[in-house]
């Protein structure tokens, strides 16, 4: 079976992302260090493995975020993110005038 068929996306890493960032992250916009494109974290490609999560840029395949759990430690390599824009709570967005 092709690896491509098996891949998931940042949505599947939502729980792990909450552990690292202490807030919901799938709607955050991440700028890829490799190619500069900006995407919601939920739209990054996930190649999961037993010990953790690797999120890759759909445009250039570079690893954007790696989270590995080892006993007693959570190891994070966020060097693939050059910039991150994290939205506020949905309530705040509505108050700021998002169109209904």
């Amino acid at each position: 079976m092709q690896t491509e068929e098996m891949r998931l996306d940042g949505n599947a890493a939502g729980g792990a992302l909450r552990e690292v960032f202490a807030q919901e992250m799938t709607a955050a916009l991440a700028t890829c260090t490799g190619c500069g494109t900006i995407r919601p974290v939920g739209a990054l490609l996930e190649y999961g493995h037993r010990m953790g999560v690797v999120l890759r840029c759909p445009a250039c395949e570079a690893p954007v975020l790696r989270i590995v759990r080892t006993p007693g430690w959570l190891r994070v390599d966020a060097s693939g993110i050059s910039f991150l824009t994290i939205p506020g709570e949905p309530d705040e967005a509505t108050r700021e005038g998002r169109r209904v």
Binding site: M1, E4, E5, M6, R7, L8, D9, G10, N11, A12, G14, G15, R18, E19, A22, Q23, E24, M25, T26, A27, A28, P40, V41, G42, A43, P87, E89, P90, T94, R98, R99, V100
Partner: protein
């Protein structure tokens, strides 16, 4: 929103089969902060030897309900789904954490029209969105029409079939089913994978600027998302959730 996502034990209130392969679990999760349609929970099973298996399952119920429903499809060689579909029963506990998700979510205030494209068990989070929409009052629903395109292998594995037929009768909802492997001789609908021709016929044109949500097997999600963007939809309005090779 509480910063830490704690594992806690939910109580199974009821289980019922949707199809020969899919079962809905109705859970009491207390306390539950509420959720948004499209979100999921992580479920964890721990064996006697300490081995842990964890999977994510989309929430099928709407935020307006007091209980939380998950619809789980049994995967033949699954580590978790056979237990959830065959063994778990009312009164049992189930360890989970959630709700999780902020990208693949839709609530009424995000507007529409709404385009939902699903394959296999990908219908589950889309159904939460559709059920949430169905609870709005008529004036809101009229301003916010929904078109759902659902691809399943055969009629007997169409999840929520009767409910979808009922919702399809509403003027603001259109449900298109396509059966990809086998169909009854009486079937007058589509008999192939969703393609450009089907999208042209039954989805929203880009000029309507729909909010699109695509969920199901990875191959379907990627081909549909690519196609929608090729047809002219704004990529920022096409949100995807991949379920992996099966579903």
């Amino acid at each position: 929103m509480p910063p830490q996502l704690a594992w806690r034990v939910a109580t199974v209130l009821d289980v019922h089969d949707e199809t020969p392969r899919a079962r809905t679990l109705v859970l009491e999760v207390s306390p539950w902060p509420g959720h948004r349609p499209g979100q999921h929970v992580d479920v964890r099973l721990v064996a006697e030897d300490g081995y842990q298996a964890q999977r994510s399952y989309s929430i099928a119920s709407t935020p307006e309900e007091a209980t939380v429903a998950l619809t789980v499809e049994r995967l033949e060689d699954g580590e978790v789904s056979p237990y959830l579909c065959d063994v778990l029963r009312a009164g049992d506990g189930l360890e989970l954490r959630g709700p999780i998700g902020g990208y693949f979510v839709w609530t009424l205030d995000q507007g529409g029209p709404l385009l939902l494209v699903g394959g296999g068990s990908g219908i589950v989070p889309l159904m939460a969105m559709l059920r949430h929409h169905a609870r709005a009052d008529a004036a809101v629903r009229a301003r916010l029409p929904v078109r759902l395109i659902y691809s399943a292998r055969s009629q007997d594995v169409v999840i929520y079939r009767e409910e979808l037929e009922r919702l399809d009768h509403r003027p603001e909802v259109e449900v298109t089913l396509t059966l990809t492997r086998e169909a009854p001789t009486s079937w007058s609908g589509y008999r192939r994978r969703i393609d450009r021709e089907i999208l042209d016929a039954v989805s929203w044109p880009p000029s309507e600027m729909p909010q699109a949500f695509v969920c199901g097997p990875t191959a379907l999600v990627e081909s549909m998302a690519t196609l929608l963007v090729e047809l002219g939809h704004d990529p920022a309005c096409v949100r995807t959730e991949r379920f992996g090779p099966t579903g």
